[in-house]
Amino acid sequence: MESDPNKIIGEVTQSDYKYGFVTEIETEYAPKGLSEDTVRYISAKKNEPAFMLEFRLKAFRHWLTMKLPNWAHLEIPPIDFQDIYFYAAPKKKKQYESLDQVDPELLATFDKLGISLEEQKKLSGVAVDAVIDSVSVKTTFSETLSKYGIIFCSMSEAIQNHPDLLKQYLGSVVPYTDNYYASLNSAVFSDGSFCYIPKGVRSPVELSTYFRINAANTGQFERTLIVADEGAYVSYMEGCTAPQRDENQLHAAVVEIVAMKDAQVKYSTVQNWYPGDKNGKGGIYNFVTKRGICKGNNSKISWTQVETGSAVTWKYPSCILLGDNSVGEFYSVAVTNNFQQADTGTKMMHLGKNTKSTIISKGISAGKSNNSYRGLVRISKNATNSRNYSQCDSLLLGSSCGAHTWPYIQVENKSSIVEHEATTSKISEDQLFYCQQRGMNAESAIGLIVNGYAKEVLKQLPMEFAVEAQKLLSISLEGSVG
């Protein structure tokens, strides 16, 4: 017998993706491939006003001039953009007043995920805006929310009903020229969520969107915009799982957050898309641009993410700390297993005085995966008396995986303080033996230890998310090291 916790971990983690299934729902596609016609098709399908078509076309024309970024620590096979459907919508698109009217197949899907809307509505008082294959199927609680003047709807509805807000804020944090994937998203985004919290309003419920990629070979381009006006507060949750597929699926979402004076936005994500199989076949390519701006003084934006899915993750939720005394936070757990690759982190751009940022990143790698933290903390000349604290920890399960940390720090004034700590550790044989001696199998022992490791981040999540996230961490390591 050998004293190799890696071996134990390896044995534990050879199971299949638990959310692998495909819902049979009739789907309507845009023609395959990407051209100005595709962009016009999408805009027309959605019956958009002229300003949106213009926005899309500008983005598309700009995208044509851009090159794929290659600075991330990722190996990505070439993506054939002409072989992708850029738009898919359930054909039986209707406005639903009650759940009975929703396609039973769809409801069954949610049941399998354990996130039935019914349950969500009853138990947690969470408003769920369910997005399946690009078109919002059901918006709940919007009536209650509207009493507070809160707007929470699909992006398509927002474009129709709140064009002025959209004109003002869409692309204001992530311009259509920002990066390759953001430009692509700007050109072809299909739907997403829009959320506006008016002055002085604290959202009485957590706003939640479950995204779900469903049609085969369909690129997903979600667009989310959250605006918290002066003194407003909102906690927003985004979560997702995807069915098992052989073909790689491209996903390029954009999330923009605007926090005005004294406003606070808490954004939580649990991402569990199909990571590919044990041999690295299939899985989602996830290129996300998430950025928030603390526009007014004393505002705060907090990102919490639990990333367990996708074959490739490229994602850097960031904060522009423009207002004085504004606060940016980034709490992240990224788990990679088998052949998954993640290059994730954050950017904290300190522009205002007395601005503060906190970065807590926990990378957990297993199998033959690669897990990178990439972060930038920039404190500009005018951002006097600013502070950053960063802690980037890596946990390795097994010896065939990789963990990398790239913290970039630029401080342009003398009154600011930046602290950075980093550790790399392994699950010890001692810890495993201790748990197993108490009757736990290796699987639950690893789950427990990993959850403990990630606790600082998990405790930032809203309750109903925390439980799901804990399960996910254990589940996603069930197929690790070989």
């Binding site: 010890s428 001696q437 009757g439 403990g452 606790k455």
Partner: protein, 251 residues
């Protein structure tokens, strides 16, 4: 018979530590194991618990009539073997509550019982915490993280109380305890002592045996049990040290 060890040999990295252990433990008995540092007491405990770093090269262990060596660590635990560690390990971020809940429910699952609900579990915890005078403050912290030496040992006894093992091996649970804590730990053990369960108590100090009165005392020396006797053997060792044993062995 609960546990029967015959001619057990075990080594680590090719170095033989246990060199032919023979030991029989009946239900309801308390056996004390003493012996100089580095003679293999903890190794014996680990091998019974199934730690894979040790290679069993010869001999057998029969537990409840089964070949124990064929069972995985967690299976042995679920069959009622508990090891109170000499050096309990820290598990950052995992609360004792969460840790014990996982352990208790896995045990229940094995026995075909339903998992305990949160409320019932917490009640059970309260009850057992009292038994070892474990403060709530401690129970809410991460497993062993930043615990003092004595707190770690108390936590081991608390876990034993929660899991109600058939065979509890306590590896120097008394080391590092102040006099009050020693009494608490010993009381905890005595309360759990029944006609059915047995204890293997590894200790350096006969003082513990004033509180936990053993049926047998064994001396483990260089990988073998070289002497067995009653409670008086411990007193004799305390008085004379291990030199006479060493001499006996050499002679």
């Amino acid at each position: 018979m609960l546990l029967s060890i015959k001619n057990l040999h075990a080594s680590i990295n090719g170095k033989e530590i246990l060199k032919g252990i023979n030991l029989d433990v009946n239900q309801g008995e308390v056996h004390a194991i003493m012996g100089p540092n580095g003679t293999g007491k903890s190794t014996l405990a680990s091998v019974i618990a199934g730690r894979e770093v040790f290679d069993v090269t010869a001999g057998e262990i029969i537990y409840k009539g089964k070949n124990l060596l064929k069972l995985a660590v967690e299976e042995r635990a679920r069959e009622g073997i508990f090891l109170g560690f000499q050096y309990p390990v820290e598990i950052p971020g995992v609360s004792i509550t969460n840790f014990m809940r996982t352990a208790v429910n896995e045990l229940r699952k094995y026995k075909g019982l339903d998992a305990l609900s949160g409320g019932v579990f917490l009640k059970l915890m309260e009850e057992k915490k009292k038994l070892v005078e474990l403060t709530s403050n401690l129970a809410n912290r991460s497993v062993n993280e930043g615990f003092s030496g004595g707190e770690k040992k108390k936590n081991e006894i608390f876990q034993m109380a929660m899991l109600e093992p058939t065979l509890a091996i306590l590896d120097e649970t008394d080391s590092g305890l102040d006099i009050d804590a020693l009494r608490v730990v010993a009381n905890g053990v005595n309360k759990l002592r029944t006609k059915e369960n047995s204890f293997l108590v590894i200790t350096h100090y006969q003082r513990l045996l004033d509180y936990i009165v053993p049926d047998f005392v064994h001396v483990l020396f260089e990988g073998r049990i070289v002497k067995s006797g009653s409670r008086e053997l411990a007193l004799e060792l305390e008085e004379k040290g291990y030199d006479w044993i060493r001499k006996e062995q050499e002679g």
